[in-house]
Each structure stands twice: as C-alpha cells, then as structure tokens.
Amino acid sequence: MNDSQKPAMLDLRRLLGILFTFYGLLLGIYGLVTAHQPRSISFNLNLWWGVLMLIVGILFLVFSIKPPRTWDPDDDEHV
C-alpha cells in the first residue's frame, strides 16, 4: 500500500476524552441527583470524583484538538 494513502493514526487522546467525559457526566449527575453515600465517609464521593473525571476527559479532548504527528522531526537527523 502506498504510504500517502494511509490515514493518520486514530487519536487515542480523543477516545480517552470521550470515555472520561461520559463517565464524569454520568457519575457526577448521578451523585448530584441521588446524593447517597456510605455512612463511612462524610462527602458525596460520586459527585466530586465525577467532576474530577469530567475535567480529565475535557483535558484529553482539548489536547486532541491539535492533530497527532505521525513522525517526530527531531528523530530524523541521525540514526
């Protein structure tokens, strides 16, 4: 196969961004709506951890705006 026809590699950052944004929203909203937690801790873990996952997910999505390079220019000058 000709190299120029080859699509750039699938961007893992975007995939991770989608997964963790989804998990963050799901868990956060669930925590907000139900607000039930085990007696052993005094805060709403679902809500706060959901928010944190949402932030992780969004960060991955932001990083994936720039398309991935298929090679590193620094690596070509020597071998």
């Binding site: 196969m1 080859k6 699509p7 590699m9 699938l10 893992l12 995939l15 991770l16 997964l19 963790f20 989804f22 998990y23 799901l26 868990l27 669930y30 925590g31 139900t34 039930h36 937690q37 085990p38 052993s40 801790i41 873990l45 679902n46 951890w49 959901g50 944190l52 996952m53 992780v56 991935p68 390079r69 298929t70 090679w71 590193d72 620094d74 690596d75 070509d76 000058e77 020597h78 071998v79």
Partner: protein
Amino acid sequence: MKGLFHAGAIDYVIILAYFVFVLMVGWLLRKYTRTGEDFFLSGRSLPAWITGIAFMSANLGSQEVLGMSAGGAEYGMIETHFYWIGAIPAMIFMGLYMMPFYWASRARSVPEYLKLRFNEATRGVNAFSFAVMTVLVSGIGLYSMGIVLQALLGWSLVVSIIVSAVVVLAYVFLGGLTSSIFTEVTQFFLICLGILPLTIIGLVKFGGWHGLVSHIPHNYGHVWADLGTSHNALGTNWFAVVFGLGFVMGFAYWTTDFLVVQRTFAARSMRAAQVTPIYASFIKVFVPLVDIVVGLVALAVFPHIGHDGTSYNMALPMLMAKYYSTGMIGLGITALLASFMTGMAGNITAFTTVWTYDIYQAYINKKASDRHYVWMGRLAMTVGMILSIFTAFIAGSFPSIMDYMQTLFSFFSVPIFATFLLGMFWKRTTAWGGFSSLVSGIVFACIFYWALPIHFATPNAKTFWQSFWVWVVATAIGILVSLFTKPKTDEELKGIVYGVQKYPSYKHLRWYKRPGYLACISLALFVALDIIFW
C-alpha cells in the same frame, strides 16, 4: 449467588460503556490495520507517551493489583521492592543500552532477534517456550478474573470467562497490537481513577503517611530496614533482593519478555523506543499508591484482616465495599475488569506475533504473502483464545496463582536474559554459546526447583535465589561454549551488538527529549523514594 458488592443499574451502565468503548476502538482501528506491520507492530508509528504507558500497563493486571494490595496488607512496604529495585533499574537499562540494538536489528519479536544474533535453534527454543507460557498465563488470568467477579458480584464463573474472552478477541482481532496498546493505556487511567479515591480517603482519614503508619505494625512502613537479615516478610536478605529480584528477575522481565518488549517495537522512531521504558519507569515508581498503600489502608481499617475469616486477597474489594457507593462501585469494577481484559489482550497479541513470525513463518510456510500472515495471525488469535479458556479451567487446581506464574517465569525468562546479556554486550559470544546458555539455564532452573535439597523460608526467597544462580550458570556455560566455537564475523553482527554498533547521539536535542537525561531524573527519583521510605 450473592457477592460482596451490591451493584445497581448505574454500575452496569458504567461496565457496559467500557465494553462498548473497547469494541468501538477495535472497530475504528480496523481500517488502520491492513498490512502485517500494522497488525503485529502497530505500523511502528505510535508516539512514546502511548507506548510508555502501555509498556508499564501491560504488566499491571488485576491479579497484580489485587495480589499486591494483599501483599501490602500482609507484609507492608517491603513489597515495594517488586516495583522499585525490581523494575526501575531494568527499565532504564533497557531504554539506554538495549533498545538501540533491538531497534537497529529491525527484529519483529524477541525470538527473531535471537535468530539474527545467534541461530535458528535459539529462536526455536525461545519461540516455543514463550508461546506455551503466554497461553498458560492468559488462561490463568481468565480464571482469576472469573473467581474475582464471582466473589464480588456473584456472577457465574463460566459466563464471565466466556463473555470477556469473546469481547477481547473481537477487539484484538480487528485492531491487532494497536487495539491491545490503546486499551492498555485506557486501563491505566481507569485503574488510577477507580482506585486512587481509596488511597486518598485512607491518607486523609489517618492523617497522612505518618498517621497511617502509626496505625499498622511499626516495620510495615519500611522498605529496606529489615533486609539486613533474612528475618522479614520476604524471607531473605538484601543480597537476594538486589541481585536476584533487582538485577536478574527485573532485568529478565523488563528487557526480554516479549509481552512488554513488543510495546517498544510499536514506537515510531529509535528515540521514541528508547524513551518508552524510561517514561514507563516514571509511572512505575508510583504504582504502589494504587495497590501496596491501599493494602496498608486496609490493614489500618480492618486490623484483623487475614485472621477473622477474611482473606488478604480481599483487602482492596473490602475497602471498596466500605467506602464506595453505587456509581463508584461500577467504576472500581470496571477498572478491575479492564485490567483483566487488557492483560489477556496483551498476552494474546504477543502470542500471535510469535506464533506467526517465529513458528509459522519460520517452520511451516516460509514464503506466503503479507496478507496471508495477517490472516494466520487472526486465526492464531482465535485458537489462542480457545486454548486460554481451556487453561482457565485447568488453572483452578493451583493454590496460589501468583506464585505459580513467578515459578513459570523464572524457568524461561531468566535464561533468555543471560543469553541476551552475553549476546548483546560480548560480541565473541557464538551462536552455539547463546543456544547452550539458554538451554542449560532452563535445565538448571528445573534442577534447582525440584532436585536441590535447600530449604527457603518463603517461595519468594526461593525464586530470588534460583533466578540468581540460574543466571550465573547460564552465563558461565554460555562463555565456556563460546570459547570453543567459532564466533560470528563483525559483518554478520552489524547493528545488533555492542562494540560493532555505536549508540545514537541526541546532543542536538533539548534535555527533556534526551533518553540519557530522562534516565538520570528517573534514577534520582528512584533513589530518593528508597531513602525516604527506607
């Protein structure tokens, strides 16, 4: 049957979303997976951050997380040796000194490098032993996943084994090595997100590290303090830990086990391949936070764990059941499930590559088309998965899965490391010198394990000493045979051996791109942590 957790609908949605995600990844990757190089080597195109996380994460299975949190609760911080001295120096050595030869040889697998450096026979022994071992390990993983899901959720053993095997097969079948690597990276983040809350809750609850340590036996907070003698949880002294575990076992695993080495081959350049294990070492030093420290928290929360009818192996699940409610439970289960599944995927893809290139292409069908080998790879995956399922049901008869795996590993992996070290760094090593060191090492491992009447305090102590002596014997035999046989010419060894090939220079790059600088930082971090938690 009832399990430890009471999973709600939301938990099942989270678990299901992961299944959908991995199948989607496989489906999207199928159009990037056309040639043999795509399927078996990810087209040698991945950036170092991906291969680096995968390099570390391929080994971070659920057995590891559950087993090491059990170890933390039972023995304390001394277990950290498996992550620090047992991995970091090896990863740094791999990146700086071995990767250039692996990469320059353009070998597609570890056995293929052995073929280039030594001869067909050496490759054959390694390829067959690796293929058998990988299928066994994969089956053991499947079985322990079934057991864990049964205990935690009350799921049927047979159903969870078959369903997860089919899902894993589906995504690696479509995307090959890339599927495997992508899900390993995903798994790493899931493990962190699913387990870190327990570490944080524990540290906050007991008032930081010193507070935590004051709630558990005094010496459980130390890594090196008890290693002056053999009276400690490992049952051996610092010499066996540094040389048996650190030098021989750690180096053998992280530099020659194809499951992890395959990740470096997927990197897009020599520099990316070199920094892959070094990036991995930066993550590896912190892995104890999600297992060993969790074990310490479990011991502080349940002081009678292991003595009141509970098992140390339940350290992590018991904490989850105590602190997680519906929702977080789903995330925790998904993290464990994901790491079981990626462990399987990694083994199956490594098995497939070795089968296709080093057994099928080498002995059965030498001159087929690239398309045919990809087809054969997919067939091998399917057969390998079926074999794993059978192994899963056989594995049930062994009492301690971790010990069994370690035993297996030390029989095959240590001799290969002796062979590699001779072959890569002493160009006088001959083809038959390499072969004899490999075979004599495997034979001596069997003799040591079954026939020598030496008593060891713990299975760990035995494994450490056995690894060390197997390395000594395999190296000695390799040197001896090399001195009496004909060496290869420099022309034949071009690019694959130290002394014939020069190391690449990265002087023109900025410090954070240079493998040497990154290795120094990693080493400093490793030394600092060992001193802080001595």
